[in-house]
């Protein structure tokens, strides 16, 4: 008899526990998988991206979650660390899909890693929204399940070529008189940048006088900069992720390199202003996004509001810029939310179709996918570091400041 009361008590207790849990978490869960670089050479930006994902998820949860079929859901992401290695990324994607039964994926960091994972998600027909793989080689393979919120990478620094041509013409010289020096890392992303720059340079009849590939473990580029001193190019293009930016700015200062226009990538994530101060002045930085742009959406507010919101959620970013890698990661999650709601279903095929029909305005810019899956609605922006501030100088439609030229 005593046993029975105990049992009833236990059942009652468990039942109560369940009902309470039911009240507390009235929203269901949508599980998304992501293999992302938390260690290894891409870890800096991998972590930036992860925080972007997490911020979006908490913001969506605060604002009532994702509404599908009259029910509300919250996103939950299973992260695995791909160690910045492509083969590891592909293995982890397999594991997420076949063992963790993930039905949707968020992208990894870098084009190389995305390229490694895309064949897997494609094989299992798993829709993947990615925010950090900009290589155009991702979008000429006929993939149907990959959607990228960012501009493709050959556009990153191509606008610097146009800008250099404009400046040459203003000074009474033909555009073809501009001499270009290119130093990019030997990875898919940076090689696309090189392709974009060389194409534009060739179209304008410019001469490429230095064309070098940076090694993976770069910490010294004096050999290139010596050549720059000797050959005096008018435009210097450098792309090698964060370490490329740090090495370049440090040694450009030390070696007192006087090139009228220097354009690099990853200025923000490498925090070149915080590290080198005035040395970084007048360097052009390409960016997918800037908090001064006039983009806006109902969830995150304006680009500027996104930045303040993110900084209060992650105080370690207080003293620096929120990198665009973070903003676009947030945008990727937002695109998923929008697609789920329009599909009004958790079926992955329906979600895929909704994704491909995406047409939204966000704090990160307009998002509309081509048939190949890249975002064709948002332009790249070029900012110049002026007195330690990042000011938009190109394209002219978004320019808030005048370009300082030539660089001193």
């Amino acid at each position: 008899m005593k046993k029975l009361t105990l049992l009833t008590g236990l059942i009652a207790g468990v039942a109560m526990l369940f009902s309470q849990a039911g009240i507390a978490a009235s929203c269901g869960e949508i599980t998304i998988g992501s293999a992302i670089s938390l260690t290894g050479k891409y870890a800096t930006n991998g972590v930036h991206a992860q925080k972007g994902y997490e911020y979006a998820i908490s913001k969506i949860a605060e604002n009532g979650g994702v509404k599908v079929g009259g029910k509300c859901y919250n996103f939950k992401v299973i992260y695995y660390d791909d160690e910045s290695k492509g083969d590891r990324g592909a293995t982890l994607a397999e594991r997420l899909i076949s063992q963790d039964n993930v039905q949707y994926m968020l992208g990894p960091y870098s084009s190389g890693m995305t390229k490694a994972i895309a064949p897997v998600t494609e094989k299992y027909k798993i829709p993947m929204v990615e925010a950090e793989g900009a290589s155009r080689s991702l979008f000429n393979k006929g993939y149907k399940y990959i959607f990228a919120v960012l501009s493709t990478s050959e556009q990153y620094l191509a606008s610097a070529v146009t800008l250099a041509a404009e400046k040459a013409e203003e000074n009474g010289k033909p555009a073809s008189s501009v001499k270009v020096a290119i130093a990019v890392e030997n990875d898919p992303f940076s090689l696309d940048i090189r392709a974009g720059v060389s194409e534009d340079a060739a179209r304008l009849g410019m001469k490429v006088i230095i064309d070098e590939k940076l090694p993976r473990d770069l910490s010294d580029m004096s050999a290139i900069l010596t050549k720059v001193k000797l050959l005096k190019p008018d435009l210097l293009i450098i792309s090698g992720h964060s370490k490329g930016a740090v090495t370049a700015v440090r040694q450009i200062g030390e070696k007192n390199i006087k090139v009228p226009m220097i354009a690099i990538t990853h200025c923000e994530s490498a925090d070149v202003v915080g590290k080198f101060g005035a040395t970084a002045n007048d360097i052009l930085c390409s960016t997918q996004w800037s908090e001064t742009l006039s983009y806006e959406d109902p969830l995150f507010g304006t680009a500027a509001e996104y930045e303040t919101g993110f900084k209060s959620a992650y105080p370690e970013y207080k003293s620096k810029k929120v990198p665009y890698q973070t903003a676009q990661a947030t945008a990727a999650v937002y695109v998923f939310k929008d697609a789920f709601e329009r599909a009004n279903s958790l079926d992955k095929e329906k979600v895929r179709d909704a994704l491909s029909a995406t047409d939204m305005k966000t704090f990160y810019g307009d998002i509309r996918f081509s048939a190949a899956g890249n975002n064709v609605a948002k332009p790249m922006v070029l900012r110049q570091i002026q007195d330690g501030k990042f000011n938009v100088v190109a394209p002219s439609a978004f320019a808030s400041h005048k370009l300082n030229w030539p660089r001193q």
Binding site: V47, K213, T226, R250, N256, D271
Partner: protein
Amino acid sequence: MDIILGNIDLLFEFPIVNLKIILDGVMIGALFVLVAYGLALVWGVMNVKNLAQGDLVISGGYVSWWLVQQGFPALLGVPVAFIVMWGIGWVAYKLVISRVIERDLFTSLLATFGLAIMMAQILNLLFGSDTQSVDLGYDTLYFADGLIDVPIAKLIGVLMAAVLATGVIIFMKISRMGQAIRATAQDARAARVMGIDTEKVYAFTFSLNSGICGAAGAIIVMVWLIQPFYGIAYAIRAFVIVTAAGLGNLPGVIAAGLGIGALEQYGSHIFGIGYQQAIAVLLLLIVLIIRLIQQRRNRQVLK
């Protein structure tokens, strides 16, 4: 091919560039010498091929970088990194290295490789994966129309490396511990018979190596940059230098270190910077082949 020829032409068109390349190379080489010397010490005394050498360097860099973040002057980082890394080296010795000294080659390689991975990940967890660098804010000296540039920070770094190296050499020559280390390197069993506490010598040697690496890392963070996963670049070069110079051949280590620095710079000038590390590895290959030919009559059993 045209580009390579053009690069060689530049060397003749502006002869002063040769001097600049050698100077750049020697300044980098000086740091390689420090790291390689520590490796030669550990290798020679305890026959441990320390693959974690580069990670000891990077850890030293982070010690110095952290100090600067706390508001201490950057130059203080070098002695502090030496001391802190000495301690870390001692702990690593007691935990890992002491267990693999008497074992075969592969055990020590595996153990130190494991140590290297551990250290890189711990640094990554502690400090994040950002590339870090300390700007001393010193000026740069220019010569020959600004073609030759010698940042004062680099000069200080090289000087500190020279002071440290000299200090270690004198210590090895005259102090009792230095003598004990050399005796152990020559014949550990005989040293034990003569009453030298080889266990203590081993612990001291590894800690000393770790301290040297730490100081080198502290200099590197002032002059170049560090990242938790950059250790391997320094480990590879240290191995190349020690293999080329041989153990216990200090002038050889210095010459090889400075030489590799300069050759890498030449290589990256002529073939492009992407081949910088390939040149270090190519040199290793050449050195090994030459050694093999030299020693073809001098066969030994593996210990």
